[in-house]
Symmetry: D2
Subunit: 118 residues, 4 copies
C-alpha cells in the first residue's frame, strides 16, 4: 500500500505533480479555493439524503467513495496552503487554541451554540 507520511511530504508531491504537467498556471489560490469548495460539495452529496444515523454506518462501497472525496479535499487544501505560503498544521494549532478560548468547557458542554451567542 502506498503511503504518505506527512502533510509536508504531500505538499511536495502535489507541487511536483503540478509542475510536471505545467499546471501552476491553473493553480491560483482563487481557483484552488473553488476546487476545494467543489470537492466539499461532492462530499456533501453522499450524505444529503441520509439520516445522521445512516451517515455513521455507511456501506463499505460508499465509505470507500467518501474516503476518496476526503482525499480530494485534503489535496486541494494542502495545495492551496502551499500556494499561499501557509503551514496548515501551524494554522490548525493556532485554531485549536482559539477554539479552546471561545468554547470553555463549562459554558459549552452539550450545546452547539456558536461562541458569540454563548
Amino acid at each position: 500500500m502506498p503511503s504518505v507520511s506527512s502533510l509536508e511530504e504531500l505538499r511536495g508531491r502535489l507541487a511536483a505533480f503540478a509542475a510536471e504537467r505545467d499546471w501552476q498556471q491553473f493553480h491560483s489560490p482563487k481557483n484552488l479555493a473553488m476546487a476545494l469548495a467543489a470537492e466539499s460539495g461532492e462530499l456533501l452529496e453522499h450524505f444529503q439524503w441520509l439520516t445522521e444515523e445512516q451517515s455513521a454506518a455507511l456501506p463499505e462501497a460508499t465509505r470507500d467513495e467518501v474516503a476518496l472525496e476526503i482525499a480530494d479535499v485534503l489535496l486541494f487544501l494542502v495545495r492551496l496552503a502551499d500556494r499561499l505560503g501557509i503551514d496548515p498544521m501551524q494554522a490548525a494549532a493556532r485554531k485549536l487554541e482559539l477554539n479552546a478560548r471561545k468554547y470553555p468547557v463549562d459554558k459549552s458542554r452539550g450545546r452547539s451554540t456558536k461562541y458569540d451567542r454563548l
Copy 2:
C-alpha cells in the same frame, strides 16, 4: 508557538475536545460534512471578488484570516474522517496514485481538461 506534529495528533486532540464538551452527539458524519462545506464556503468568500493575480498576493491581514479558514476546513476534515474510521493520509496516497493514472504527463501537460475528456 503551539504546534501539532501530525494529523494523527490532531485527530486525538479534536476527539478529546469534543468529548470534554459532550459534542459527540452533534458530530455525526452528516453534520461534519456540512460544517466542512460551510467552512469551505467562507474560504471562497475571501477570493470571490479578487482577480487570480490578487489572490496570489494577499495582504498580510487577509492571509491571516485565510489561514484560519484553512485550519477550520482541516479540523472538520480530520474530525469527519475520524468519525468514519478513515485514515486521510492513506486516502490521499491512494488518490495520488489514481490521479497519476488519470492524468498522464504527456496527455495533460498544460491542459485543465478533466480526465474523462482527455
Copy 3:
C-alpha cells in the same frame, strides 16, 4: 412591503444596481458562481448542528435570517444567469422534464436513490 413580481424584474433591478455602482467588472460568471456557492455555505451553517426535525421548526429569528440567505442565493443565481444569457425559468422547466423521466414514480417511490442507480 416592497415587492418584486418576477425573476425578470429581479434580473433588471440587479443589472441596474450593478451598473450604478460600476460593478460589472466584478461580475464575471466565475465570480458570481463563487458568490453563489459562498452564500449557499452560509445557508448550510444555519442547519449544520440541527436535527432534521429542528430544521423544520426554526425559531422566528432564525427563520428570518435564513430567508435573507435564501434571498442572497436567489440574487446571485439570477445575476449569474443574466451574465450567461440563460433564462432560469426555462432551464427549470427543462430540468423538471428531465427529472420526470429520470425518476419515474413507480421506480422511485419512497427511495432517495440517485437515478443512475435506480
Copy 4:
C-alpha cells in the same frame, strides 16, 4: 418548449413531484440546504479552471450544462423555501432594500469592498 411562468407555479410543481414519489420524508430543510449547496458546488466545478474572460464566453455545450446546474439550484432553493414557509420573492425584495442601504452608490462605486469595511 415546456415552460414555467412563476416561482409560485414552480413551487407547486415541485411539491406535487415530491408528493407523488413520497419524498417529503427526505425533504427536511436541513437536507434540502445540503442538496442546494451540493448543486452550487457542481456549478462551481464548471468554472474553476477558467479565466474570468473564458467564463463569460462558454462554448454552447458547456453553457447548456451550466443552465441545468442553475436549474438544479433554483429547484432546491424553491423547494427549501416552501418547506420553511418562506416566500423567496418577498425575501429578495427585502434583501434588495437592505443592499441599497448597505452599498450607497457614492461609497461603493467601483469597489468590491464588503459593506462593513466601506
